[in-house]
Symmetry: C2
Subunit: 227 residues, 2 copies
Amino acid sequence: MTNKLNLNNLTKSEEDYLKALFQLLVEDNSVKVGNNQLAEYLKVSPASTNNMIKKLKTKNYVVSEKYGKLELTDEGSAIAVRLIRKHRLWETFLYNYLNFSWDEVHEVAEQLEHIKSYKLIDELDRFMDFPEKDPHGELIPTSKGEYKVVPKITLSSLEEGAICQLISVNDGSVNFLRFVSEIGLALSSEIKVLEVREFDKSIRIQFNDSIETVTRKFADNVFVKVL
Amino acid sequence: MTNKLNLNNLTKSEEDYLKALFQLLVEDNSVKVGNNQLAEYLKVSPASTNNMIKKLKTKNYVVSEKYGKLELTDEGSAIAVRLIRKHRLWETFLYNYLNFSWDEVHEVAEQLEHIKSYKLIDELDRFMDFPEKDPHGELIPTSKGEYKVVPKITLSSLEEGAICQLISVNDGSVNFLRFVSEIGLALSSEIKVLEVREFDKSIRIQFNDSIETVTRKFADNVFVKVL
DNA sequence: TAAAAAAGTTAGCCATGACTAACAAATTAA
DNA sequence: TTAATTTGTTAGTCATGGCTAACTTTTTTA
Ligand SMILES: [Mn+2]
Ligand SMILES: [Mn+2]
Ligand SMILES: [Mn+2]
Ligand SMILES: [Mn+2]
């Protein structure tokens, strides 16, 4: 009997650090993730991350050399994936059953993802009939820990004339999500890049019957599939 | 604008202490609740409760004199009632929608009750169509904080020959709840007290087509309405 | 390649919420 | 009504996870 079912005894903080590291490493597909980068992402001081990384290393969830880049062990990754699964399933539940809007789900899911119960999350999954994507278009890892990392193409990376479809959005900022909805963009929207302005990288896009100019920062948080 | 909607900034611990105190004061209807009693209930040391009570007093949730009995302010009670509402709504959700059994819901609800979001709990309430009772038969406080405290009659308090109906059970012990189910008792079961044995207070009861002898401790945790 | 900047580390501090051990007050029993 | 017991309080310790300030190492830039 392996310790498959150890109701992992990680604290909320430890879990958040592992998830953050996973997101920087895998989702943002970085070459190197450093201590200060992690600190900035988590909005804590570099001293705090340094401290926590030390602890996670002794627990064999993280590997790194002094002054070197941070990496996750398989076990560390698995924990992160489970958290992401929980986060996205809860977001889906809030959105589809409890009348939460796009921009409201993330904050509450950030809490709910730390509830410890395998049954809870697998039953929630079943209750919703095993959804594939969360309200922001992100793939939901399966109960077996299967997680496809889809390389993300940002709207900002496209050239003039490109036509694409909105696949997912970054869910971290309430204001950003509200703005996306306000201008009429949604998952699956078809977008045409009309113009890329060199001096400030803002882009002019067409979708539905609207034409809007959006900033580079905005376009960095919109992920698309080129058609 | 009052601070009605202050997403109360209490820690999980502070919340658990207030809820425990409320349960001892109101639900168990005690004349006096003391520091050690609270400590025992929460399974922490008297030093810990003493410490926490001090803090809750400075925040005006608790009132007490040195060496005196513990009491809750209106604000303290209101927080406790909100927690009980959340706890029971979650138990109901787990039981009715996620295939949790009677004895599994409490532990997970103990975590879920600390999720901070008014919308979450009110929408969950609506989603379930405003249930009145949780799976253990306990009344669920309303979103307005209305909470009827029904004086509890324990099965152990009945005399020989009494006929009653099972209204609710104490949900704190998994083993107890499992045993209740195993012998075939459930909410609304009609029970007849056949015999009360003086020397050990065990009682012989009849229900459905069964006859069982149960201990005083068991009967203390079964709440009934006399018919 | 040396100086400056950035990144990472360490020491030391704080708040929270546990604990034990020692002590004080209140209650109960002899 | 004194003595024993129970109840409550205080002091001091620990782990967790934050922080700032100072320092070291690495990387970049001049
Ligand atoms: Mn999210
Ligand atoms: Mn989180
Ligand atoms: Mn319960
Ligand atoms: Mn709790």
